[in-house]
């Protein structure tokens, strides 16, 4: 029988589960700096640290806040789409509006 993607994953899990688990655990416990030099606290954002930074630091300084804002904004928008507009009450309301405007 042809084995699909999920079958491959399952087979991998059963054979290598302890190894994968150990790798995941090791990764979490040895968390180091993330690729972009993100700030850990307000102290990291002092001008002293930013001065003399090269191009990657400049990009990070301008890009990281925008990424954070985008992430939080997207979370709020999805909340309104899924939990508010997607709710049964909102759906009923939208349906009634649609029927009202149809000829």
């Amino acid at each position: 029988m042809k084995r699909g993607v999920s079958g491959t994953i399952t087979a991998l899990k059963t054979r290598r589960r302890p190894l994968l688990l150990a790798i995941v655990a090791r990764c979490i416990l040895t968390l180091r700096k993330v690729a972009v030099p993100m700030r850990t606290s307000s102290e990291d954002f002092t001008k002293k640290n930013m001065q003399g930074g090269g191009m990657p630091v400049e990009i990070a300084r301008s890009l990281w806040p925008r990424l954070v804002e985008l992430w939080i904004f997207a979370a709020i928008v999805v909340f309104f789409l899924v939990r508010v507009l997607g709710s049964r009450t909102a759906q009923q309301l939208l349906n009634s509006v649609r029927h009202h405007h149809l000829p």
Partner: protein, 604 residues
């Protein structure tokens, strides 16, 4: 008067728990704050009190026995907390109360307290509490001994919390276990605040974390109406708090105590225990760089203590029913037999577990989508209606980034990931991971502080919007969920009307409970909630297919044994197919009560 008694019973129970909790004071870390000490004392006390009540109840479970245990705890509390009390009050005097989070916590606790005083309603299909959390305690008190109820297989579960429900019912009446929700929720909030400060939040942040947790409908659902999942989460969080801070053998013993209490509360505590031991081992090896022999010795202490604390519940099942975990999983049947367990019951339980625990799928992609689904579609996981708010998803990642170099954070993160993975492959029921929601909320507040201090003004505003949405939406869901309970507690006429509407066959229960000639009842239908009957009863068929009378596989065979059952009355109601179990005018029986689909016969 009934309500006052329920409140007094809860106060006595909490004081008693604090007394038993004081027994573990010597095992605390020196660095613990007053908050840490209070949270861990209360949780340890509740766990130990439940375990002691269970052990005593194996031979004697009358009101006197319960009062004796409770008063022992109260004496311990007066003895040991008298000196600590003064210190505590002076510390409380210095506490600065942030207005908003304190108001949110106070409102949720107030709603919980008032709503908790309403009488329980419902039936077997919609309410687990009626089906077994309250049924077991009620039957134990009547029988004077703690034994599982044969017609409800789920009463074989570990019962650290249910024994306390029994104590509350005995001292404070039917309303008292409902009011226990305040204790349950307060315990979780205390340990959450303690954990929040340990993870790097300031006291104001800890208040906000507690407020967000109090306003999470998915957490709240596990705290009221007889549910014990929130308290279970508290025990697991206390164990996790100790797991990554323990240094001395005494600290590891306390870690073991909380693991044992978790295992004595729910079977899922076994998974949490195994994961915490595993995480503590890896943490000690890779982060603390301790010697292997020292680690193994310390964890050996934890394991031994955990097994000792949980053993009464598992040994009882092993001795009486041949299997420590009862009802047993198919895997365990390779090693143990199981007394009185019909294959049909096993099948029914497995099917139900598969059905209720499937969540939104069990594939690899579903696992990756879990944070998103738990945030936006929590209602698709049983017990998660209302969700967990936006904070863990929107702000939690930044909290992780902010605290990525902290060793304790790494330990908690490892435990959270493995716990979610274990939950994902076993049973995806929202209530089972309340402790992960709590951790998520704390990281969310850490992320909020990070964005507020370090990112940009826009991010600060957006974060505040996320917090506001989470709290407002959560409060709306919680209040709409509890409005009827609050109304019932405040209006006796509404309470009576609601009981009549929501509790099937209430008229028959009222007749049986009020009629002095009824001494023992035979319940013929498996769908009847025996919790509402105050008299001794026999129920030959349980809702999972349990059969409690030897050889009686159907109603005619039960009726053939009628003389030996010594029942005075028989309750018969219409089944789903619209027919009664007994024929019209059965011989030897007199119809003494009939209303709609309910009949009560007197045995002549």
């Amino acid at each position: 008067m009934n309500m006052l008694l329920a409140i007094v019973a809860n106060i006595v129970l909490v004081v008693s728990a604090l007394g038993f909790g004081s027994l573990v004071h010597r095992l605390f870390l020196r660095s613990f704050s007053q908050l840490d000490r209070l949270a861990l004392t209360l949780l340890a006390g509740l766990g130990l009190l439940g375990t002691i009540l269970f052990c005593v109840g194996q031979v004697w479970f009358s009101r006197s026995a319960i009062l004796l245990v409770l008063l022992s705890g109260v004496l311990l509390a007066f003895g040991s907390l008298a000196s600590a009390g003064q210190e505590c009050w002076s510390a409380l005097g210095r506490v600065h109360l942030p207005v908003f989070p304190a108001a949110i916590i106070f409102s949720v606790l107030l709603v919980t307290a008032v709503g908790g005083l309403a009488l329980p309603t419902g039936d077997l299909s919609t309410n687990d509490t009626i089906a077994y959390h309250y049924l077991g305690p009620k039957v134990w008190l009547r029988e004077g001994v703690i034994r599982p109820v044969p017609d409800e297989v789920l009463t074989y579960f570990p019962v650290v919390v249910e024994t306390q429900y029994a104590a509350l019912m005995s001292v404070g009446g039917k309303r008292a276990p409902g009011f226990f929700a305040v204790v349950s929720l307060a315990s979780v909030l205390l340990i959450a605040a303690s954990l929040a400060i340990r993870l790097g939040l300031d006291p104001s942040g800890a208040w906000w974390a507690a407020a967000l947790i109090a306003a999470m409908p998915a957490v709240y659902r596990g705290a009221y109406g007889g549910m014990l999942d929130a308290l279970f989460a508290g025990f697991v969080l206390a164990a996790a708090r100790m797991a990554f801070d323990a240094e001395q053998p005494g600290h590891y013993a306390l870690f073991g105590i909380f693991c044992g209490i978790s295992m004595g509360t729910k079977y899922t505590g076994i998974i949490a225990w195994a994961l915490l031991i595993f995480c503590s081992f890896l943490f000690s090896v890779w982060v603390c760089r301790r010697q292997l022999t020292t680690i193994l010795k310390s964890l050996g202490i934890s394991c031994a203590v955990a097994i000792a604390i949980a053993s009464p519940f598992y040994l009882r099942n092993w001795i009486f029913y041949d299997c420590p975990i009862y009802p047993p999983s198919p895997f365990l049947l390779h090693f143990f037999t199981s007394k009185n367990m019909l294959p049909a019951v096993m099948q029914g339980l497995l099917e139900n577990m598969g059905r209720s625990g499937q969540g939104m799928g069990g594939g690899f992609v579903d696992f990756l989508l879990l944070p998103f689904n738990l945030t936006y579609h929590t209602a698709n996981y049983i017990g998660g209606a209302g969700g967990i708010g936006l904070v863990p998803w929107a702000l939690g990642p930044f909290g992780l980034i902010a605290r990525r170099r902290d060793a304790f954070t790494k330990g908690m993160l490892l435990f959270a990931v493995l716990q979610v993975a274990a939950w994902f492959v076993t049973a995806q029921v929202s209530r089972y991971v309340i402790h992960i929601y709590v951790i998520g909320a704390i990281f969310g507040v850490l992320g909020w502080q990070y964005t507020a201090r370090s990112v940009s003004r826009n991010a600060r505003v957006l974060s505040a919007v996320v917090i506001a949405i989470s709290i407002l939406y959560g409060m709306f869901m919680i209040s709409s969920d509890r409005v009827e309970d609050v109304h019932a507690a405040l209006s006796s006429s509404f309470e009576a009307k609601r009981s009549f509407q929501e509790t099937p066959h209430l008229a028959s229960f009222d007749y049986i409970n009020s009629e002095p000639s009824v001494r023992k009842v035979l319940i013929l239908n498996k769908g009847i909630a025996a919790y509402f009957i105050d008299k001794p009863y026999i129920k030959p068929f349980g809702r999972w297919g349990e059969q409690t009378l030897p050889g009686a596989t159907d109603v005619p065979k039960v009726m053939a044994q009628l003389a030996s059952l010594h029942v005075t009355h028989i309750l018969d109601v219409k089944s789903e197919d619209g027919s009664f179990q007994l024929p019209e005018h059965p011989s030897g029986l007199t119809l003494v009560f009939e209303q709609g689909d309910q009949r009560v016969y007197r045995v002549d």
